[in-house]
Symmetry: C2
Subunit: 311 residues, 2 copies
């Protein structure tokens, strides 16, 4: 495996997955911003349910210009925020044969990257993982960790299968799908209710949300809206998906969502990627999603106020 991999972002997702690849000796370069000094001098430390490990990247750069070669894969592991312009961040590192893999949250997040790099392969990736960055270069991985990859908008290429092999080789559970857009809808079934409500209901964990009967029925109503969106978008989800998500969450260890952690630390939340894009899809497809729309309008204002009060 002599592929060269460029991981953009050394937060929870980049640090865990990129670190895992680096730890088995693959050629992994990292683009870091605020954590640059620490990661360059000390590498990464990941406290993980898979076993704690350290990783030393092959290279640590502050800008994609510094890389000086075109990697085989770019793994974009940044939060999806309006102020983060992925195409301009990665452009200097995108060669003709570079595949761009977005391991990010949300729905309908690929178009800007596809538009900027129309002849490159765009791989869309979903991480089913519970992890967070505890300090510069330090990640805590608490549970789960499975990756799902697929080409955007559909299918699975050899390049994508190869990347899945690389992840599996590093010990990361990874599957591929021909319908990654459908997989994103499926993930949104969980994210659309639990992430926003955890913040809007006053800072609550998953078990607190589900202990209230009325709140549980709101959660189901939101999930149902996601299912109706997905169906109209041509990606019908299995009818069991709502029950499964509810009962799965009931068995989980009580959990603070990533959005709630962001809110509490006065960091920007992925409001647009998770809710705004769903609302826009609803308009485009003519599907009424009043519950999600309500969450979106409230959370957008909460996010704005929260950042005014923060740094």
């Amino acid at each position: 495996m002599d592929e060269r991999i460029f991981v953009v972002g050394s937060g929870a997702i980049g640090g865990l997955y990129g670190g895992k690849l680096a730890a088995i000796g693959l050629d992994v370069s990292f683009l870091c911003r605020s954590d640059y000094e620490v990661v360059k001098s000390e590498g990464l430390f990941i406290k993980s349910v898979w076993g704690d490990f350290r990783a030393t990247p092959a290279r640590v750069v502050k800008n994609a210009e510094e890389l000086n070669f075109y990697p085989d894969y770019i793994l974009v592991c940044l939060k999806v925020l309006p102020q983060i312009d992925v195409p301009s961040i990665i452009r200097p590192a995108v060669g003709d044969n570079t595949a761009i893999c977005l391991i990010q949250n949300g729905i309908d997040i690929e178009p800007p990257v596809q538009k900027a790099f129309p002849s490159n392969e765009i791989i869309s990736g979903l991480a089913f993982v519970c992890c967070h960055r505890t300090a510069p270069g330090q990640i805590e991985h608490l549970d789960y960790g499975r990756l799902v990859l697929g080409n955007y908008p559909k299918g699975t290429s050899k390049t994508t299968e190869k990347l899945a092999d690389i992840f599996r080789h590093a010990g990361i559970p990874c599957t591929t799908t021909d319908d990654v857009v459908g997989a994103r809808w499926q993930k949104l079934v969980w994210n659309a209710p639990f992430n926003p409500i955890s913040v809007l209901a006053g800072g609550v964990t998953t078990d607190e949300m589900l202990s209230d009967t009325g709140m549980k029925s709101l959660i189901r109503a939101i999930m149902d809206e996601v299912c109706r969106l997905a169906e109209k978008d041509g990606h019908p989800l299995p009818s069991s998906v709502i029950d499964e998500n509810i009962s799965f969450t009931e068995t989980m260890t009580p959990y603070k969502t990533s959005m709630l952690l962001d809110f509490e630390s006065k960091r920007p939340m992925e409001v647009e990627a998770i809710l705004g894009n769903a609302v826009r899809k609803g308009k485009e497809l003519g599907v009424a999603i009043p519950h999600i729309e309500t969450l979106y309008r409230l959370l957008k204002m909460v996010d704005m106020k929260n950042r005014e009060n923060g740094r």
Copy 2:
């Protein structure tokens, strides 16, 4: 005017309206709880746009038992909260000829009182006023102040007209209506969006809510749900009501809602009176009100968390 009036509650509403009646020398008794000592020894002080004034109640009691006579009117000026049982608070003061007037917020708040006192006149009252209690016995009245009275469930009796005369005599703008339930729906058009959103969107004033186009359309959608409830309930509102409420609020001085003031002081919010009863009416009438339902579930949990963190 020798009617004897018993004001239950010396918060913003009881203090302002009861105080105004006492200030012109009418026989006004007050039931106070936490403010008992102050009101008994120092009376009430109201800083008002109508002119500041002091008022000395004829009697100040801690319990309705202490009154020792049956008043002509009981003015219930308490917040509408599940933990406040109005019938048992007022019962010792309710004689055969006592009219009970509820000057309270919310929708469908009269049935418990009507059920407890089936042969008494129930007057339902709405205060269009901007005022709050600043300290025990001290009220600040910032703007507006009109009262609307009507018999519950409909009509206007001589007793009600007499009470309206008394208020007007004291300088309080007061009109009567044959359809007070409709008037409550009309007031809910404003309360249902602005009160909950002011809290849920992160502590925002009316102007902040209306400055965001998306939030403004959410507010209109919530108002539309109230109109559909009112219509199905047999009290259709004028079609201009939404536009009027929006443009009226745009011209208001930026305003913190009473719900936001309650939230910030960790006091219970009128979640059930304003939203819960609307949601239950929606179920009963078969009207889908998903935006209001979303606000209700979120706010109920916020209220619970807020009081856990408070006293």
